[in-house]
């Protein structure tokens, strides 16, 4: 009944595209009267609505699983009107307009064949709906009418087939025709097309264009070209100076020189590596619930970068990642097997066989995706429905990997051992073997903490002596053991004592011979545990089947050699598929789209290549050229095709091309591309001058200004910026990023703190150049963000914007609150703004180490006085502090001092350091509570005078004055303490937080800061209009004159902010306006897209 209930709110949209046609006369000769009438009523006005809302879903749900694109039982398909009219083995399924004469209707009424069978039998309502549809003349969206079709003679059935690949017949047989598929054919280098001499790539591309009668657009201008080349090779934009130099360079070889320079640039390796990490589903965490950090994953990332930097031939690149541990000549190459360790891992999954299956499937399918562009995933459960890939192919390919185990121990450095090191290896090895024997002898389940949760099968295997486990069982036990902790106290008495003795012996030996520990690198790699029984390894049938010769190896312990055999087969010069896959990827990385657009799937479901001959030529050249990647990149980048403009002039040859090939698959023009997530981040840091170009090493938090490739990839905690710009999800191999345009991106860029901070830094950078007027500043901002020399019109517009912003700043009440400084309440002049949300909040003095003597460090290490005016805007979270100023004190036990306010507003001083005359290794500390509280949003002048030198007078004098109340007296507190040492530190003096710690930022204003090299008398304090004379170390007033960061005591101890020089900003209004302009430019399409 429900099938007839019409909800037609959306139906109008469905019928829009098809013209209304008069329906055939309704023949209402059949019963089921009331339903029948309802059906007619329901669809009377709009037959196509009836078809879309009722008939199509009905056919799809009840009929097409047997009579559709997956099967055509009885020769019958019901998924297009032509098929319905052609019918099956029993003849046409319907007679249009005549339900009573239609086999289909008899079948659904179970009057002839009973279809669908009983369990799925149609309801009376559904049958009536079908009858009405037949009576109506079979209206079918997007198809000519049944009457017209029959009148014109039915077209061949093939032509009526739904668009898309054909299903393969069952059972699957892989044929010679399949092996002749373009991707699997033997690789023969095609001849370069005849015609104009020139670059071979251009001869292929241009020959194709000529054949289609199309004309390519000219090359882009030089400023566009250098920006394009920089982004595609090194991933960051050129500097304005580099653009200028290239634009001015008229040498015809200038382009090739630039290409060579950039390909050799270490940043190029970082950029290529990021493409590869997408393929390798690289992440620094496990995924799943705990998403635990993977401390050694980055070593694989660095290996990839180094491999690209060294232009490691691709065959060796492949072999290292699949079987580096099995190569006897390259022990560190084992790190490359991190490729097989990028699989997500669930730390508490007790269904061990299931998780192990997932891990092996992932290794298998990723390998097929990445090196063979074969979508093997479907064949995990069944023969592929479209491609000639058998379920058995999956199983056989998987068998190359089934012997692996995951290892996290050290990869030894490749060098001969000294005698002492040999002793280390022998002794530690012996003890560990004995410990392992004792563990293996444990017959009490309780000896394994965590084992209780596991299913009986796993418990039994863990208790089984290792020798009695099969290889597969051993793998399960090792996977389960990651969740178990051994508890030696549950061993029998004798064993327990032996275990304790061995543990102690090991610890003692390791301590005593620490210097002999051979160098090794901890890494997440694979090794082998033994060959599980079962299916033998083999290659996919369509790639020739069979199995390459497998020989056991013993590079890092006995290994089956299976992966090495597979890797060598993939990398062999005779393999036609792997070089095609790689050449296509290289093309994609430089053109945005591969010659074959689905770079991870060369099967029927991926699109065929636009230029098959060119792809083969590149692939052949790749192999013949020793499989070096950079050579092919150079070829691609020096082609004219690479240098074409994105815009086509409005003249006939190009309008023709635009009409014939709007997507420009034939490369008659280039596409502008939005920057990738990393490029957005890195380019903004380059523009602001903040990029820290340090290569390699452990991953860093996103707040650090390193290149994006070095930012931690945590599967469950994605960086908001990278996430918004389509950073891949790292669950499976990603061959092509999505490119989206979303309001979230707009909100993030326009309102988010991160890009605004870059705009501030950029504005400072420009401000410091001391350019005279707004016009010069606008032009410099444009050059820096966009690279090229801006047009006069654009400079005019930006200049005008700067002027208008200046005047707006006065009108807009919020004016200066985002600046470095803002007015201090109840006081004249400006104060430094410290906002904990800003990563660059901290103000520090570079080189301001403290020491007892000025030559050791100019800042005080014993007695001192700190003074400041402050406004606190929020209390910290419980357990945290808001720091007014500090020196050192960033980490546990680090020496230094810190003046803080706690969650209750209590003011206190902490000092830590070493006793001057005693054992300098023992830290001493004092926590001195002033017994004074600060209220929020109220200005205070604070002074803290610290005495530690005079043993008879160790005290701190606090003095606080509420500046909002002229009548309020200063509050005083004197606290004695026992700190009798030096708090000397090499860390810089910091205002508004602690150097090296982001947890204790001030929130509010800080002004009138003065630091003095002794404990001042009360009369000497600023609050008392006193002078500290020569004792002053430095002072800052944060005014426009002489400048925000300038040391007003004249000692030259200027502040930096967030590690960045804060040159005197003389004209705060102008600076703020410039921040706005820079922020707009960093949001602009000119910045976000590359032509």
């Amino acid at each position: 009944m429900g099938g007839l209930v019409m909800h037609s709110t959306r139906a109008v949209a469905l019928s829009r595209s098809a013209p209304f046609r008069a329906t055939l006369p309704v023949v209402a000769s059949i019963a089921a009267a009331s339903l029948w009438l309802l059906a007619i009523t329901a669809h009377a006005g709009a037959p196509l609505d009836h078809f879309e809302t009722t008939i199509r879903p009905l056919l799809a749900t009840h009929c097409q699983s047997c009579h559709g694109d997956e099967a055509a039982k009885g020769g019958l398909r019901l998924d297009s009107l032509v098929e319905v009219l052609c019918g099956g083995d029993s003849g046409p399924a319907v007679v249009p307009g005549d339900p009573a004469a239609s086999l289909l209707i008899a079948a659904v009424r179970h009057e002839s064949v009973a279809m669908p069978p009983d369990r799925d039998r149609l309801s009376d309502g559904e049958i009536a709906a079908l009858e009405a549809w037949v009576a109506d003349g079979l209206p079918w969206t997007g198809s000519a009418s049944a009457a017209d079709l029959l009148a014109a003679g039915l077209p061949p059935r093939a032509a009526a087939a739904p668009v898309g690949p054909r299903l393969r017949p069952r059972p699957m047989v892989v044929t010679e025709e399949d092996r002749g598929w373009w991707a699997y054919r033997p690789l023969v280098r095609p001849a370069v097309p005849e015609g104009a001499v020139g670059h071979p790539i251009d001869r292929f591309v241009d020959a194709r264009l000529a054949a289609e009668g199309l004309v390519a657009v000219p090359e882009a201008d030089r400023a566009t070209l250098i920006r394009r080349l920089f982004f595609t090779t090194v991933g960051v934009p050129p500097s304005a100076e580099e653009v200028r130099a290239f634009v001015a360079d008229t040498d015809p070889a200038a382009w090739e020189r630039l290409v060579d320079r950039l390909l050799a640039d270490p940043r190029h390796a970082e950029h290529l590596a990021r493409h590869w990490l997408d393929l390798a589903r690289y992440a620094d965490s496990d995924g799943f619930r705990q998403d635990a950090f993977r401390p050694h994953a980055w070593r694989y990332r660095d290996w990839v970068v180094a491999a690209f930097q060294a232009d490691l031939p691709f065959d060796r690149f492949v072999i290292a990642q699949l079987a580096g541990d099995e190569l006897s000549d390259d022990a560190r190459g084992a790190i490359a097997t991190g490729f097989l360790r990028q699989t997500p891992y669930e730390y508490n999954q007790i269904d061990v066989p299931k998780q192990w299956t997932d891990i092996l499937d992932d290794a298998t399918e990723t390998t097929a995706d990445v090196f063979l562009a074969m979508g093997l995933g479907c064949a995990r459960c069944h023969d592929h429905k479209y491609d000639p890939i058998l379920k058995a192919d999956h199983e056989r390919l998987r068998a190359f990997f089934t012997a692996i185990e995951w290892r996290d121990d050290g990869v030894p450095e490749p060098q001969a051992l000294f005698p002492g090191q040999q002793t280390w290896v022998d002794t530690v090895g012996r003890i560990q073997r004995e410990l392992a024997t004792l563990r293996a002898s444990a017959r009490d389940e309780l000896a394994w903490g965590g084992l209780q949760r596991f299913p009986p099968q796993i418990k039994r295997l863990v208790m089984l002596p290792a020798a009695e486990r099969t290889a597969l069982e051993e793998q399960w036990v090792r996977l389960a053991a990651r969740q178990l902790t051994f508890q030696p106290e549950k061993l029998p008495e004798a064993d327990r004592l032996a275990y304790e003795r061995l543990t102690a012996e090991l610890a003692a030996f390791e301590k005593e011979h620490a210097a002999d520990r051979p160098p090794s690198t901890p890494a997440a790699v694979v090794a082998e545990v033994g060959v599980p029984e079962g299916i033998a390894p083999g290659l996919p049938e369509v790639l020739g089947g069979g199995c390459p010769p497998i020989e056991p190896v013993a590079a890092r312990g006995p290994s089956s050699g299976r992966r090495l055999a597979l890797a060598r087969w993939i990398a062999a010069p005779t393999n036609p598929l792997a070089p095609r896959v790689l050449a296509n990827r290289l093309w994609q990385w430089h053109f945005g789209e591969g010659l074959a657009s689905e770079a991870n799937d060369f099967g029927l479901l991926g699109a065929p290549p636009s230029h098959p001959q060119l792809l083969d030529w590149l692939a052949a050249d790749l192999v013949e050229g020793g499989y070096t990647v950079r050579r092919i990149e150079r070829l691609i980048l020096t082609s004219t095709a690479f240098r074409r403009a994105t815009h086509a002039p409005e003249s006939p040859p190009f309008t023709l091309a635009a009409a014939r090939d709007p997507q420009a698959r034939l490369l008659w023009r280039r596409h502008a591309r939005r920057l990738d997530a990393e490029q957005v981040r890195d380019a903004a840091l380059v523009a602001s001058g903040e990029l820290d170009a340090t290569p390699a090493g452990p991953p860093v938090p996103a707040a650090k200004p390193r290149r994006a490739i070095y930012v931690s990839v945590l599967r469950n905690t994605r960086d908001p910026l990278l996430d918004a710009f389509d950073f891949p999800d790292a669950s499976a191999s990603c061959s092509r990023r999505n490119t989206t345009t979303t309001p979230s991106q707009a909100l993030l860029l326009l309102n988010g703190e991160w890009l605004l901070a870059r705009a501030r830094a950029l504005a400072l950078r420009i401000d410091r150049q001391g350019l005279g007027d707004d016009r010069s500043r606008a032009a410099e901002a444009l050059r820096t963000v966009i690279g090229r020399e801006p047009s006069a019109e654009t400079i005019d517009a930006c200049t005008e914007f700067l002027g208008l912003e200046r005047s707006r700043l006065d009108a807009d009440a919020s004016t200066f609150s985002v600046a470095l400084s803002e007015p201090m309440p109840q006081r004249e002049g400006l104060a430094a703004t410290i906002d904990p949300a800003r990563p660059d909040a901290l103000l520090t003095v570079p080189g301001s180490a403290s020491g007892a003597k000025p030559e050791a460090g100019p800042f005080p290490a014993d007695d001192f006085t700190f003074e400041a005016s402050v406004v606190l805007r929020s209390f910290p979270a419980d357990g945290r502090l808001r720091t007014i100023a500090s020196q050192g004190f960033g980490r546990d036990d680090a020496p230094g001092w810190s003046l803080d306010v706690d969650a209750a507003g209590r003011l206190g001083l902490k000092v830590r350091g070493a006793r001057k005359d005693g054992d300098t290794k023992i830290p001493i500390r004092a926590e001195i509570d002033a017994g004074l509280r600060l209220a929020l949003e109220r200005p205070y002048a604070i002074a803290v005078a610290v005495r530690v030198v005079d043993a008879g007078d160790r005290r701190v004098d606090f003095q606080i004055r509420d500046l909002s109340d002229n009548d309020a007296a200063a509050r005083l507190a004197t606290v004695a303490h026992g700190f009798d040492g030096s708090h000397a530190t090499s860390q810089p003096f910091a205002i508004g937080g602690r150097s090296g710690s982001e947890d204790s930022s001030w929130d509010g204003l800080i002004d009138e800061v003065r630091l003095s090299r002794r404990a001042l008398q009360r009369a000497e304090l600023l609050q008392e209009q006193g002078s500290a004379g020569d004792a002053v170390v430095a002072a800052w007033t944060f005014e426009e004159t002489p400048g925000f960061a300038v040391d007003t005591a004249g000692r030259g101890r200027d502040l930096v902010r967030g590690g960045l020089q804060v040159a005197p900003v003389k004209d705060l209004r102008g600076y703020e306006a410039l921040v706005d302009l820079c922020h707009v430019l960093l949001n602009s399409s000119d910045f976000l897209y590359v032509d």
């Binding site: 799943f288 299913p455 905690t717 999800d729 309102n751 602009s1084």
Partner: protein, 480 residues
């Protein structure tokens, strides 16, 4: 020059400068659809208007979904699925006849734990509901209670992942993302897929649950917080006043328009301009959507906003209704974020408290939708990632049970007052009318007019479908 200098006007008031521009702005929703249709280019439509409303495959019964996710796995045995046998067998091991299962804490052999509830039949349909859910008991005639739900997720991560994305392994789009992809957005100025949660705890798997997986990020859910602003980065940076912000945006639009005009073939440049305009509209619309000030005292009372125990969930349920009213397509409401329902021990205290938090607000949501005529077009789904075992854990708790558990649906064309499926006599396995997560998802999609086998997205060239080609809508739930 002149076009670049018009800084004073707001971007969404920009006059059309060309026919193309006019078309891009014309019509409702994301106007670029008209432009794309004009140019007969589906690829273009996909880049420039991925959220344009699209027709469903079949008549939709529901236009919106509110999925109330009880994170951590509520016990069906103590709420909707009474098992008298459990009381008789309390303290004994699970009889062999019920089969053995893997549970994460290995409680297969632990003694059975009876419920401590008082049960009654409710409504005209006479459905059993325990005394932990008195308000829900009052709406049973609007509910289809699904007693035979099954998941593959043994742990929270896999379970929550599958209940959201169809797979226990990460990387696939969530159901909300599939819905947004399939149907586009009905709202001009709010995201189509919104996520709400209680507390600050992180939902298991984090934002991965509402991610777009291999689909473009434009389809992912947007978390709406309870704070100000409700959406991350919704308001101008601290200290930037409205005039200044508007001026920046206007100037940006001018620059971007000039850039787009230089290469009109790059349609995504136009889309970029529109994305800023939508962001600008969201700045105004989202705070209004979450402003409960306009709700009557009676409504606030109905949702329990005046009671500390129910205020948080009540607020989220009320927000869900307000979002649905504004055209939001898919609202995911997490309750107990951070596996709060995960009662491995002390289930009495744990569930008594959590049931009290959700019972009144959830019932209020159904009643409120109904009286506003929205229940017909809004499918409400209630449940967790799995249920709990009849075997005890730590004496007074229950382990995870993905083998048979209860969820319910209401509205969106789902018949009320019915029960589907059953579990065995101890509530361990489903035994009739199995409803796997894939079936549940197919049913939800079907209510929205989407066919789970025809909703395809090509990833790496392969057609991916929301339920991994499995499952089917339950006939009784989709009115067949």
């Amino acid at each position: 020059m002149s076009s670049l200098a018009r800084h004073h006007r707001l971007p969404h008031h920009a006059p059309a400068t060309s026919r193309r521009d006019w078309l891009a702005r014309a019509g409702s929703g994301f106007g670029a659809l008209a432009l794309a249709a004009l140019e007969h280019d589906a690829a273009l439509a996909a880049t420039s208007a991925p959220l344009a409303p699209k027709p469903p495959h079949a008549a939709a019964r529901a236009t919106s979904v509110i999925f109330l996710f009880m994170e951590g796995g509520p016990s069906h045995l103590d709420t909707f699925d009474p098992k008298p046998l459990l009381r008789r067998l309390e303290g004994q091991p699970l009889p062999e006849s019920f089969g053995r299962v893997i549970t994460p804490m290995g409680e297969g052999e632990s003694p059975l734990l009876a419920d401590r509830r008082t049960w009654a039949r409710h409504g005209r349909c006479g459905a059993w509901v325990s005394d932990w859910l008195p308000h829900t008991a009052g709406i049973v005639d609007d509910l289809a209670i699904l007693r035979s739900c099954v998941s593959d997720g043994l742990n929270h991560s896999g379970g929550v992942c599958q209940m959201n994305t169809g797979s226990v392994l990460g990387g696939r789009p969530s159901l909300g993302a599939w819905t947004t992809y399939g149907l586009g957005s009905e709202s001009r100025d709010l995201p189509a897929f919104v996520v709400l949660q209680d507390g600050d705890g992180q939902v298991v798997n984090g934002p991965r649950n509402w991610a777009a997986g291999f689909m473009p990020a434009v389809y992912q859910g947007m978390r709406l917080g309870t704070g100000t602003p409700p959406i991350a980065n919704l308001t101008a940076p601290k200290g930037v006043g409205p005039a200044r912000q508007a001026a920046k945006l206007a100037f940006l639009t001018d620059l971007n328009r000039a850039r787009a005009a230089a290469t009109p073939e790059q349609t995504e440049l136009e889309a970029r301009i529109q994305s800023y305009e939508l962001a600008y509209r969201m700045q105004a619309a989202a705070p209004l959507a979450v402003d409960l000030g306009a709700e009557t005292a009676e409504t606030r009372r109905l949702y329990g906003l005046d009671e500390p125990a129910t205020a948080v969930c009540g607020r989220n349920c009320l927000l869900a209704r307000r979002l649905v009213e504004r055209g939001v397509r898919f609202v995911q409401v997490y309750h107990g974020a951070g596996s709060k329902w995960d009662a491995h021990a002390g289930i009495e205290k744990n569930h008594a408290e959590l049931c009290r938090q959700v019972d009144q607000p959830v019932a209020a949501l159904v009643r409120d939708l109904k009286r506003r005529g929205l229940l017909d077009s809004t499918l409400v789904v209630w449940g967790g990632e799995f249920g709990r075992t009849p075997m005890s854990e730590k004496g007074d708790g229950r382990d995870h049970n993905p083998y048979g558990f209860t969820m319910w649906m209401a509205g969106g064309g789902v018949p009320g007052g019915i029960e589907i499926g059953a579990t065995d006599d101890v509530g361990l396995h489903q035994i009739a009318d199995r409803l796997h997560v894939h079936d549940i998802h197919a049913t939800i999609l079907s209510a929205l007019g989407l066919d789970h086998l025809r909703l395809e997205f090509a990833s790496k060239g392969r057609p991916e479908r929301p339920t991994l080609n499995e499952g089917r809508p339950h006939p009784r739930l989709v009115g067949r």
